[in-house]
Amino acid sequence: MLNFIIRRVAVAIPTLIILLVASFWLMQTAPGGPFTSERPLPAQVLANIEAKYGLDQPVYKQLWDYVVGIVTQFDFGPSYKYKDRSVNDIIAQGFPVTLTYGIISFLVAIIIGGALGISAAIRQNSWLDYFAVGVTIGAQVLPNFVMAPILILVFTLWLGWLPGGGWNGGQWQHIIMPVIALSTSYMASIARLTRSSMLEVLRSNFIRTARAKGLPDNVIIWRHALKPSLLPVISYLGPAFVGMVTGSFIIDAIFGTGGIGYFYVNSAFNRDYAVMMGLTILLGSMTILFNMVVDILYAWIDPKIRL
């Protein structure tokens, strides 16, 4: 097991380095720069600004300085667009927001999705099954950029129950709609995955043997069927977790939550190099980390993987 973990970590580090170099290079090749604007700056002004941020240096040196800054001082650089703030500020302020609604969405998606999937499977072809399948299909086809404005329309304008956006330090009223909008499609996927894999397991020989032995239904389901039927779900949970906690442009843009998802997408449009790199490193490391966690979890549940 330890060997397996070491192997996975050894692969993770070069992956991160490749990600870093590739995104830096891609970013530099995109037309325009952080100070390209409708009012082109006079050459002298541009030169002063580029000198201040070290953008007059060769690209490899910029990358090197950037990496050195991160490694030695944990400094992800300045934002060229939001000049009052450093990338560290942006992450420190936005990431907790993203993490909060991301983790809650994740829990909601697992609990509701898992429960729907399991109950649909064990009552296959009953009204409960049809209901669960109906809900999950509906939830999966409704994209969150459609659902979010509808939620605001219903809960804010018509019912007046919830504020239409903002974060307000993470008050619960402000978290509900982002969580619904973000978790729904994940919830639907988890429900469908759980249902189909549970159905498959319930039809397998060892379950038939258990039934033949006369074991009660709940023992069969909870003790024997659940663990093997969770395997495909777990492999999905890694990317799903990363997808939720790394934020969503749509959620941030529509609910004005102030998370990093919006900053990330906009940093590309603004050519805000340091913000983009900082967030790429943060989100990239998380993706790599959680995929690794899933692999390890998987190996732990299913010894065949370790081979």
């Binding site: 037309p31 082109p40 600004i49 009052d84 302020q93 404005p149 605001i152 239409g164 609910f255 449009f269």
Partner: protein
Amino acid sequence: MNISIKAALLGSALALAGPAFADMMHPKTGEKLAEDQTFTYRVLDEHTSVDPQIVEDVSGSEIVRDLFEGLYNQNRAGELVPGVALSHTTNDDKTVYTFKLRDDAKWSDGKPVTAGDFVYAWRRLADPATASEYQWYMEVMGIKNAAEVMSGDMPVEELGVKAIDDHTLEVTLGSSLPYFALTTTHTSTFPTPQWAIEAHGADWIKPENIVVNGAYKLTEHVANERLVRERNPMYWDNDNTIIEKVTSLVINDENVALTRYQAGELDRTEIPAGQYPSLKESNPDEATAFPRLCSYYYTINVSDSTPEFLKDDRVRRALSYAINRDIITEKVLQGGQTAAYTFTPGATAGFEVPSVDYAGWSQDERNAKAVELMTEAGYGKDNPIDLTLLYNTSEAHKKVALAVSQMWKQNLGVNVTLENQEWKTYLTTRGEQNYEIARAGWCGDYNEASTFLDLVQSGSGYNDAKYANDMVDSLLADAKTMDNPQPNYTKVEEIIAADMPIIPIYHYAGSFMIKPELIGSWPVENVEQNWYSKDLYKVAK
């Protein structure tokens, strides 16, 4: 009772009663004020900075105008009114301006606002080490030695600004500039507190460190979510400030913002494109449209890299004539925009719209003339032109481009390929003249026609058409020092209409939903839309 006594009474009542404005009257208009005097509005995007010398976007400048105060402010109509400066005098050739500053202006930490604070701020703006994107504004203002200081060839002390005493500021210009005072409402010229900047460095603008001299203090800032400012008791005119608290909320989606406005969470929001007519009908008291100091135009590449047919002014004029601007403003956009036949909007102060010939024709006459010119140039439906129209990705630009390409196709047989690019890619393409015809927009930096017409000067960095005309250059250079430059502006507009390196399409309009209790104090007549929260108030319903 005169106004100042009333104001003083109001002030002492305030001090006793705190923020309760119940049964209060407006000190000047006598209107009954609402109890709630908070102002919450939507901004599209996070502001770039609240540092006067660093800020570069509109929503950031709006915040800076609340937090800081420069020499002059603008009133509802956009005219100059005293800010920190009470008045100014100038020498005969208008190269030296002397500003008399008020002696009761204070920073939020109690220090007096002095001429030295302006000197510090202006030097800071010009200093290459500050690396401000608005550094060039010192050159627009024509301050003596600005260019040399910006390039580092002269120390900042050589900049043409000095404090004669604490309340007298003397500005020396490189050459005469009659409208100089107008340029002092720009946020980059606002004073900044040297001691706070030196003590906290780049963090001086954080709510816990910032020292301001405006009507409001910065009390909270959550990036990409909200910014809150509350009244500054040290402000010299605090007694006449009515709005207690101003909150800007970042809401990227304009339709969501409208929903939240309708739910009562906002006092002001922009009207999404195309929805003005229906909102005007359903909420006539709240939907407002007003002219803005901005022009929407198509720029034609006339540099060497352009196809042969675009070098022919007859083709360029035909393309312009064939655009039915009324359809674009009244059917496509429907937001109060006005058709443009000159580059400079009629709303510009002191600018009289010249009667360029084609503005007076009917659309049928324009179309007929367009066909005639095209035929003369050797093109037409049997020998059509193929051209590419570039715009930055956006639904509104796409709608206009589709309408225009249809008009060109129908009237002139021109085959148009539409091409959209993401913003910075589009700017690079346009700046490198890798286009044939491109959409463009321009808003005035100050309320004077040169802020538009300088764009067609051959040396201008904004002249993406690469249009060069010696006559235009000399007319504009002369206009700088003229007391009444209108004849030159008229001439330049006429030359543009004849050469047509740019096709004016419409002048922008701002359209907002504003709560009825607030709308009375909103400066709709100010075409630059420089608004100050200290001048706003909510009346009782």
